[in-house]
Symmetry: C2
Subunit: 298 residues, 2 copies
């Protein structure tokens, strides 16, 4: 039964922690719910740090750079460092800079908010688009102004509150005209995961991605959970040993599946979207589960 | 062989015309290419009218009302009447007004340009959205302003050059919150059909529709070719006898398939996208084909 796999006994918890060097942590449902940090979580995180564990907060939120995501931690009085933040915008920038052999003469065309271009700049990658293209075409005849551009080497799509026709048509044109142009996305979440409280509009990056993919006969490389390319980037950057790395999350189909596909240990917390019943019925089973992250500190 | 089915002989052409009461005509590739009317087409159309045939110009272009599409005919010095124009915006308005039993207290939320709302108004249907929502949300926190609205009875999506996050999030919210809200689209063309000359951006209604459909577990009713609902509307409105109705078009997978599924006679013209080789190899075979519409007049 699944109850055998609950991490509860103090000795077992210590042994589990000792077996791991790096913890990858989902945030919403694990560290906080909306804007409320779960009781005991700051202490548990500091306890792990005191035992020399590396922590990486892994987020699909592509609207923020690491620096700006760190501010969210600070606004919640939660200690973290820039090196501990690993967002999908940064994952995409790192992937382009270190894994794509991207020519220095080429640029990335960005659909997304400032976080993406900030991360590209920090990795030395030139980009265009983003807020520069917030002004839409003014009429149908302007469509003729959208032309292939040989200086574009990749299109990177993330969440963009200022999505418009010009951005979609430009990205489509670059990708449609030249198969050599890389097609990348920061994440593919169809809706916002914040439980309906923060974003009732709910319309996520994956929906914008569907618009761009539909008329193309191409699929993007996605740099967010649960796509393995994100994990490849993390493992590559930190030289992690998958056997001594643990993914902690509240979602079976994203967090836990993400860890398992990469050969990591997995730990489910019950403070998020997964009910005991859902856990019992699911095909996706974590190595262990625990009531909350706070329980990691005896 | 397919050559047997070429309509060439003057007597055969006359017999074919005599067997038909109503001709449904695709425009681009049949009547004109871009902004150039094919030689002999005005004469052929007038010849059909002189023989008492009803002509219906069937277009997926949802940006224009019938009145505004008629202006395109006039700008090309091509005679037509309002009653002869049948666009997907009008098809959607007619469908809502006459086939959906749409309550008079309800409104349609529109993503699209003025043509759609003009047609809804002409059919006595109230609508909101469209250009009223061209001003986007100003920041992420504004998403909280998007809420379900019980006065919305349908969401109708057509091509919208001013597509933005607010429109997509509103439409998503209405459709996601209440399964009773009808989900309609004027057409599902992924790209513009104008052969790349007019709209190199190329990004069509179907791509916007993919964004809206992706996070929903629902499929839209589509009021454009090749979807049969459009043909149902035409048959319903004009009380057509399918056996004495002919669809004329240049595309096998849209025009000809559209006519065949509805039990109409079909006539392919070779002035558009279908080459003789493509015709020979295709699984979709029209009843007859003809070099050009002009050849209908001996």
């Amino acid at each position: 039964m699944t109850t055998d796999r609950e991490l509860k006994d103090a000795g077992e918890i210590e042994a589990f922690i000792d077996s791991i060097d790096t913890f990858l942590l989902d945030c919403d449902g694990v560290i906080w719910a909306g804007n409320t940090v779960f009781d005991g979580v700051p202490e548990a995180l500091n306890y792990l740090r005191s035992k020399g564990k590396r922590l990486l907060f892994v987020t699909n939120n592509s609207t923020k750079s690491r620096a700006s995501y760190l501010k969210k931690f600070q606004s919640l009085n939660l200690h973290a460092t820039l090196d501990e933040i690993f967002g999908s915008a940064y994952a995409a920038a790192y992937y382009i800079a270190h894994q794509l052999n991207f020519p220095p003469t080429k640029k990335v065309y960005v659909i997304g908010m400032s976080g993406i271009q900030d991360e590209l700049t920090s990795e030395g990658i030139s980009s265009v688009g983003g807020s520069e293209d917030d002004d839409n075409l003014s009429d149908m005849a302007d469509m003729a102004s959208i032309k292939p551009d040989p200086s574009i080497g990749a299109v990177l799509l993330g969440f963009d509150l200022n999505i418009n026709y010009k951005k979609l048509a430009k990205a489509f044109t670059y990708l449609h005209h030249d198969e050599g142009v890389h097609f990348l996305a920061t994440n593919s979440d169809l809706t916002f995961p914040a439980g309906g409280t923060v974003y009732p509009g709910g319309f996520g990056t994956g929906a914008l991605l569907a618009a761009l993919s539909a008329p193309l006969d191409r699929k993007p490389v996605v740099l967010g959970k649960p796509h393995q390319t994100m994990l490849d980037v993390i493992v590559n950057k930190y030289h992690l040993d998958p056997q001594r790395t643990c993914m902690i999350g509240d979602r079976l189909d994203t967090d836990i599946a993400f860890g398992q596909h990469g050969g990591l240990k997995t730990l489910l917390v019950m403070t998020g979207v997964t009910s005991p019943k859902k856990l019992q019925e699911s095909d996706i089973q974590p190595d262990r589960f625990i009531q909350g992250l706070a329980n990691l500190k005896a």
